[in-house]
């Protein structure tokens, strides 16, 4: 990564406090960090550590109780729901654990869906979808419905769907949580390869240390606080195959 570093995500002193009956639960308890363009970051933690809450707030799906989130120069905590939706549409790609493809649409249509929301006409969006589909190596499956594809293939469609809008940041929530370990490795490899090619930023949430080791940087989170930041292996692509 020889190019100039540029901050895409800046989180400052972020709190999220849930009220459960009388008591307060601090899901996030003062988190601060920055992520630069082109970085592949993993947020690792056990269940209940606050990692998913953090991701949801980064993606604008939840409001923080206190603190600042600045993504691509815009304050997420100051946006209303409509503005958040618009922001996601233009700047964010999302990869889900359970793929969340629409069962009635084929691979190509699923990938083109976010472009539909942008108001792109059918011809252009299908052409773009086809390009990213080739990138994830599923051109042969473009007319297949999600039910006609394996889990790994479905997640590859999911990755393509996140890529198609050419977002500044891609968020991935346990992207391999529903896949076996071999397929997981394939998918991780693919993700890493593609974002490096496109110089895109990826923030992934996982509880799996091994998957986290694919990342450039690993945020370890526990009880709502970042406990350590580690640097992953520089030659991630190589050691994937050792698994």
């Amino acid at each position: 990564m020889s190019e100039k570093k540029k901050t895409v995500i800046r989180v400052e002193d972020l709190y999220k406090i849930y009220r459960v009956g009388e008591s307060k639960v601090r899901a996030l308890n003062g988190v601060s960090f920055t992520i630069e363009k082109g970085e592949f970051c993993a947020i690792v933690g056990t269940s209940g550590s606050g990692k998913s809450t953090l991701l949801n707030m980064l993606a604008g799906l939840e409001k923080p109780t206190k603190g600042q989130i600045v993504i691509a120069g815009e304050h997420m905590e100051r946006k209303n729901e409509n503005q958040l939706v618009k922001f996601r549409r233009e700047h964010i790609g999302f990869i889900f654990q359970s793929f969340n493809l629409l069962p009635t649409m084929n691979a190509l249509e699923n990938i083109a869906m976010p472009l539909t929301f942008q108001g792109m006409d059918k011809e252009t969006r299908l052409k773009k979808a086809e390009e990213v589909l080739a990138l994830v190596g599923l051109t042969k499956h473009k007319n297949h419905k999600p039910t006609q594809m394996s889990g790994g293939q479905q997640q590859r469609v999911g990755i393509a769907r996140a890529l198609v809008v050419q977002p500044e940041i891609i968020f991935a929530d346990e992207p391999t949580g529903n896949l076996d370990s071999k397929t997981s490795a394939e998918v991780m490899n693919l993700m890493k390869k593609v974002i490096k090619e496109k110089n895109q930023t990826l923030v992934m949430v996982t509880h799996d240390d091994h998957l986290a080791s694919f990342a450039d940087r690993i945020f370890r989170i526990s009880d709502g606080k970042i406990v350590s930041i580690e640097y992953g292996s520089e030659s991630g692509v190589d050691h994937i195959d050792t698994k």
């Binding site: 889900f96 654990q97 009635t104 942008q118």
Partner: protein
């Protein structure tokens, strides 16, 4: 998001749940059809009664009557002005200048005795210019209208005339024993006597006529038939009882026949003497549109003539039918309301099922308005399809009702030939718009709910 893409997405999600969509649509079909058919009955009745009024002298026709002979204005006829107010061509010109008047023509009315092969009857005779006859609403079953300036009298018989002939000896006729006399009005020679006073004076040997001279047998005229009006002997129309002639020929004959005597039906001077001129008995005014009849009638009345029309009758009749249509439509609307609840229910169900899908779309950046729009469109689709099919069903039902009623031949007075159920295009169009509106209204709150769904549900809902 493009409107076309929204249409496609909401259409395909309806298609995905075919059975439920069809059932919901069915509710709207029945709802729409019940409203349309109900209102069509009201409209049909209203139209049938308008057709009936048409037979009683037309909807756009105003009749101006001579004040002396009209009977209504007796006190005014003693007025010195009254003599100037008899109806002639000057009056026709005066009325023709009123706005919205399409056509004006005079009618001369008198009486005669008609005889044929042992049967006879009194007939009311009318003279009109031949080209105006169809304006009076005369349609012929046989023959043609008289040729203008034929030089002799040609008769157009009303369809009920034949039933008026009675046997000279027994006095029995159709209305007495139900048998039509054996007369062919078209081809038999019918004999007319116009001066009936002289005729009876002669027959019964009254000795002397009014001026003291010996009674003279008036001329018996064999009159050729030009045509017979459409309709059976029992179909009443405003012209059915009349025999029509060319007014110019009739005037010539009457002048010859009566010479200096008063012609029956004509106004006289205060001393009972006839005028030199033969006046019209009435003047017919055709107005270009039903809505202006009352206005024109008022203006004619202001000119000092006695005018009458069916305008008030039509107005009060239409008012009544408007309320009938409203009531019938209200009854039909009940089932559309039930259908609307069905739509709302279907949409709610659909939102529960699609929580995840809605969430995914929101995470991927689908505008909240677009999400609401898609759900509204789905509801609108149901309304539209249901409405369109409902209108088709209505036309089918309407056609069936009309066919059945026609075949039943209820013998009602009302003219059922036009059908009891009538769906004009505007009603069909309005019903479709209304069905779509009801569908979207029913889908509004569900769509609001879909819009407000939290996108987190999609991710948590594993």
């Amino acid at each position: 998001m493009k409107f076309r893409d929204m249409l496609r997405m909401s259409g395909s999600s309806l298609w995905k749940r075919k059975v439920r969509t069809i059932l919901t649509v069915l509710g709207v079909v029945i709802g729409t059809a019940s409203i349309v058919v109900m209102i069509s009955l009201g409209l049909g009745l209203s139209r049938a009664s308008l057709a009936e009024i048409e037979q009683y002298g037309g909807i756009t026709t105003i009749t101006v009557e001579d004040q002396g002979s009209g009977g209504y204005m007796e006190e005014e006829s003693s007025d010195s002005q009254a003599e100037d107010k008899h109806l002639n061509d000057d009056v026709i010109e005066e009325i023709r200048n009123i706005p919205h008047v399409e056509d004006v023509y005079g009618v001369l009315e008198t009486e005669a005795l008609a005889m044929c092969g042992g049967f006879q009857t009194y007939v009311s005779v009318r003279g009109v210019e031949p080209e105006k006859m169809d304006k009076l609403g005369i349609t012929l079953a046989q023959g043609s209208f008289p040729e203008p300036d034929a030089g002799y009298l040609q008769a157009v018989y009303g369809n009920m005339i034949i039933g008026d002939f009675y046997n000279e000896k027994t006095g029995e006729g159709y209305w007495y024993n139900g048998e039509l006399p054996d007369i062919d009005l078209m081809n038999d020679s019918i004999i007319f006597v116009f001066d009936m006073d002289s005729y009876y004076n002669f027959i019964w040997g009254g000795g002397e006529s009014e001026d003291g001279s010996a009674p003279v047998m008036p001329k018996k005229r064999i009159i050729e038939a030009a045509g017979i009006m459409e309709g059976t002997v029992e179909d009443y129309g405003s012209n059915s009882y009349y025999v029509y002639f060319d007014i110019n020929e009739l005037k010539k004959i009457l002048k010859k026949e009566y010479k200096n005597k008063a012609i029956p039906g004509q106004p006289t001077t205060s001393s009972g003497k006839p005028f030199k001129e033969i006046y019209y008995s009435s003047i017919m005014v055709n107005v270009d549109d039903m809505d202006y009849v009352q206005e024109v009638q008022n203006q004619i009345t202001q000119l000092g003539y006695h005018a009458s029309s069916n305008a008030e009758w039509v107005q009060s009749m239409q008012g009544q039918y408007f309320y009938i249509e409203l009531a019938l439509g209200g009854i039909g609307a009940v089932s559309l309301i039930v259908a609307a609840i069905g739509i709302a229910n279907t949409m709610m169900m659909s939102i529960y099922e699609r929580t995840k899908e809605i969430g995914i779309m929101k995470v991927l950046g689908c505008d909240m308005r677009n999400i609401q729009g898609m759900f509204l469109m789905e509801a609108g689709y149901i309304g539209f399809i249901g409405g369109a099919l409902g209108i088709l069903l209505s036309y089918t039902i309407s056609f069936t009702i009309n066919t059945v009623i026609k075949n039943l031949d209820l013998g009602m007075e009302m003219n059922m030939a036009v059908g009891i159920s009538y769906i004009p295009l505007w009603l069909a169009g309005l019903a479709l718009v209304f069905a779509v509106f009801v569908g979207m209204a029913a889908g509004f709150f569900p769509s609001l709910r879909a819009m407000k769904l939290s996108p987190l549900a999609a991710i948590r809902n594993e």
